[in-house]
Symmetry: C2
Subunit: 351 residues, 2 copies
Amino acid sequence: MLENKNPSKTNISQLGEFGLIDHLTKNFEIHQNTTIKGIGDDAAVISSEGDNQIVVTTDLLIEGVHFDLSYMPLKHLGYKAVMVNLSDVYAMNATATQITVSIAVSNRFPVEALEELYAGIKTAVKMYNVDLIGGDTTSSTTGLIISITAIGNAKKETITYRDGAKENDLLVVTGDLGAAYLGLQVLEREKEVFKVNPNSQPDLDAYTYLIERQLKPEARKDIPKLLSELDVKPTAMIDISDGLSSEIIHICKQSNVGCNLYEDKIPLDPQVISACEEFQLDSTTVALSGGEDYELLFTISAEDFPKIKANPHLTVIGHITHEKEGTHLISRANTKIPLIARGWNAMQEDD
Amino acid sequence: MLENKNPSKTNISQLGEFGLIDHLTKNFEIHQNTTIKGIGDDAAVISSEGDNQIVVTTDLLIEGVHFDLSYMPLKHLGYKAVMVNLSDVYAMNATATQITVSIAVSNRFPVEALEELYAGIKTAVKMYNVDLIGGDTTSSTTGLIISITAIGNAKKETITYRDGAKENDLLVVTGDLGAAYLGLQVLEREKEVFKVNPNSQPDLDAYTYLIERQLKPEARKDIPKLLSELDVKPTAMIDISDGLSSEIIHICKQSNVGCNLYEDKIPLDPQVISACEEFQLDSTTVALSGGEDYELLFTISAEDFPKIKANPHLTVIGHITHEKEGTHLISRANTKIPLIARGWNAMQEDD
């Protein structure tokens, strides 16, 4: 599908590096008043608002490692690549304001394919109100590489790190868990079916939520705003796209505390439960280690509990303990199981 | 050389993604007082100094496109990758303060190879007084990919864009041109010799400057400082690592002006002249389009000429004309040749 065998497709070399950047980014508008200069100079220029501090985060997505174009449409990929980065900005309890996008592509991709990718990026920046302010476009020897840097800002006293969790704090997670991983299982299964019978028409109705969570995840832009409205300052916060288990351990290690996480409190969508039965997977393991849920995990002081308890976006899943008690899952059978960091790890997939 | 066949070498998967980042970045210190939080959270946090504006630039370097590890030692590559980005910060007439470094590597690279790469990055950040504040480490299906984002700042009135050149302004370039391109020619020739006779001992004494400009370029950190000391605010400024010719055209297009560039004024090192004779290359073409000279091109008001004329780092190579006069090279024989943008273009190399 992506082979540039169609002579009506435009080869990227026809535009050259500068022409390609201009072509792909010409319809992006600037909306943030902190963006002084976007694309078109040696560097972008931004200002900080008042005495706000600036947060910066970056992620690299590699074809064949982080995504598979056989079931990931390029438009969705562009959207998701932005989400991956914005999620880290929101995990600082900050507002995302700008991104840079660099891509490396082999000649296998016609300009029209990159237009699709940028259409997804454009939808994302519009929906999340961030400005595309720079980037780099180059050729690659194989495949597609996407490198995004996201910038945001927040008041100094609002920015939330990983190291502030205190004993007796509550452990809170946004949304529900495990769906993105199961969406990937469904898509990989369909890919195998398609290899055997390219004419099969998959019925994916039972998996729409799972597939959407995998192909078109949303970053939790609403959470910093919600926390501000609820007048809750988390004591620690982290993005859990690498897996809930490993990220709880990060917070505990950096805060020098322990935790008890309650298995029966973990929020699961009904599609997650039924797909786990179908794939014969343990739903708790999927929720703890599946990864790619662009949700946030945070800790709050117990006295803030009344402020959040009625909120449908937030679930209390455990509490912080003394460091020497360690990090544990309390199972439905009330047994205490040590948490292990088995998050999604792109480094180990290569083994 | 880079194959991980030696059992005493450490496979990257032994450390995992987080372990690898920690391992590679553990000895990096924070020196900038605008760095609030470096590596170790979802995002880095920086503050702006007074009412300074912040500049952001990013570049992607791909093995086989931007560098060839058969003659580029990894330590030099790490150093150069930082220079490529800092040069864009200095081209805004700003001070570089922070960088993020993301790498994707195949299992072909042992941890020890990445340590070499990071040793080069460390030398660069130390020499240029910038803080490494974040990044991403992942596996690649082939080769090495480096993505760096550089951040800097300057007073609003100091930041220099590409679009401010005015008629009668002088066109000034830093350093000398063409050496990096010739360094690459020398290295590629040696690579061919080595293929035929692996025991040959190359005598590269005549090319030391050229090779150094290719393998260990320096970004012009000194120039924003020098311009400030000389009390010169350029009207436009640009990094010329993509080639002098294409960058002059960028300034002229964005400033809506023309220019005359004088062939006999282009600064060339004696090694450039002799290597051009040896390789039967035209030194002007090499200086105009060779690229990878991490020098800066800027325009100044003619009345600032006395302030810069005695400076050995700066050469006046032409002047700005009315837009309708176009962009020309005035040759030694006093003929007027239209400038063409034949800069180094990673997009076209793939043709």
